[in-house]
Symmetry: C2
Subunit: 253 residues, 2 copies
């Protein structure tokens, strides 16, 4: 199920970064009604690129587990108890999303961990890449990448047939408890310009690797050109939301 | 609130280890009725050594947060996705206990993190000591030490006046999701005698440091001899339960 593009050479990364050269078009995709995206093109695209429900659930569940682990790590490394109090609940929400997605997966398969395990190596590699070298980078990472990945799996859920699609969209788009991270980071950045410029570079760096994870989840038709045309508006939407999150932190996207 | 005994010299550690020389008397303390321990002596002792409710809640809440962090770390380091699936829910339960204890604390004080912060340095030091050098040691640690600490704070809650005592006892004694750890460890130990003997030594080593944490939570009367007499049956009970957990893993206590 893993696209070989996840460990893509520079050429493919170049294709991903092409998206940055375009102005960020802000498509209005209502977050709580993923089955009815306002934009007709986006809706058609989503239906075409959505994977089968079992790999979707396996990958989405394992990614929520990774988000949980990353947030729990920021709890452990937090410099103050007050910061732990912001991050603890956020990690709890990610764990809850993971467990609910696993519960959905278990309605379809006996061994949910076997389904998840096939995504583990690529996601663990990704986690290593985006971990960051200190608490601020780790915190920026999990805030920004979990934002992109949640958005992506909510969008993708629109293409899943039956009741499962809306249900998993509700699970992934449920509260993340990450609002407090914006304050924690925003305060630190506004007080320290050097930190701000370091995190701005870091925040931009994260996007490419995160979109490669998203790309690995997509159903490919076999026609590269068609696939790219379908993926592009989805990625444009993800990047627009990412830019808003960067802005919210006081970072230039 | 932190007893200087938490960073006690060898002499005091010796006093703690004296308890091991006695046969483990198994007092019947019903877990779900901590307000009515069957043993009269234990009940009197608990009332005398219970701290004020605010430091009790602050320390108990911070310890649950530490248990959460330790369990989340075992999720991160787990060798298989199936093991993660056992440990994830367990860490969620510890986080839930932490959050419920913080909610109780917030009914009494504005800044719950300030109350917890005074316990942080000693507990962080303890966490460093009991962390272990690999996944099996970490897992053994959190299984055994969280067992002792949960038992201890449930017992101690019996001495808290009003509705808060039974309420916090219910919170701390609520499901921990740690049963699966017994299976994970027990299976590994039964297959590898060398691992078993290493973890048996490790499991015995953990008790002294954990009882020092418990000791630091206790209200001291100022009369060392009286305090020791009151503490002893409580520690005997904790050690009896610890021995049962060691037995359950196939380790000699």
């Amino acid at each position: 199920m893993l696209s070989p593009r996840l460990s893509a050479p520079a050429g493919r990364l170049g294709a991903v970064f092409d998206v940055f050269k375009r102005p960020a078009v802000r498509l209005e995709v209502p977050r709580l009604k993923p089955r009815r995206p306002a934009d007709q093109t986006l809706r058609v695209n989503l239906a075409e690129i959505t994977p089968e429900v079992i790999p979707y659930l396996g990958q989405a569940a394992y990614i929520q587990l990774s988000i949980f682990e990353a947030l729990a790590r920021t709890v452990m490394l937090a410099p103050t108890v007050a910061a732990k109090e912001v991050l603890g609940p956020a990690s709890g929400f990610a764990l809850e999303k993971h467990e609910k997605l696993v519960a959905e997966l278990r309605r379809l398969v006996d061994e949910s961990s076997v389904v998840m395990a096939q995504f583990a190596p690529a996601i663990e590699h990704y986690n290593d890449v985006v971990r960051g070298s200190d608490w601020y980078e780790s915190l920026t990472s999990v805030y920004l990448t979990a934002g992109i990945l949640d958005d992506f799996f909510v969008l993708l859920a629109a293409g899943i047939h039956g009741d499962v699609g809306p249900k998993v969209a509700r699970i992934v788009s449920s509260p993340s408890g990450r609002e407090g991270i914006e304050t924690l980071l925003g305060d630190a950045i506004s007080e320290d310009a050097t930190l701000g410029s370091r995190l701005a570079v870091w925040g931009r760096r994260l996007v490419g690797d995160t979109l490669l994870v998203a790309r690995s989840a997509i159903h490919h038709s076999g026609n590269v050109r068609t696939d790219e045309q379908r993926i592009e508006p989805v990625f444009t939407e993800l990047i627009a939301n990412h830019s808003r999150r960067m802005d919210g932190l006081g970072l230039t996207a």
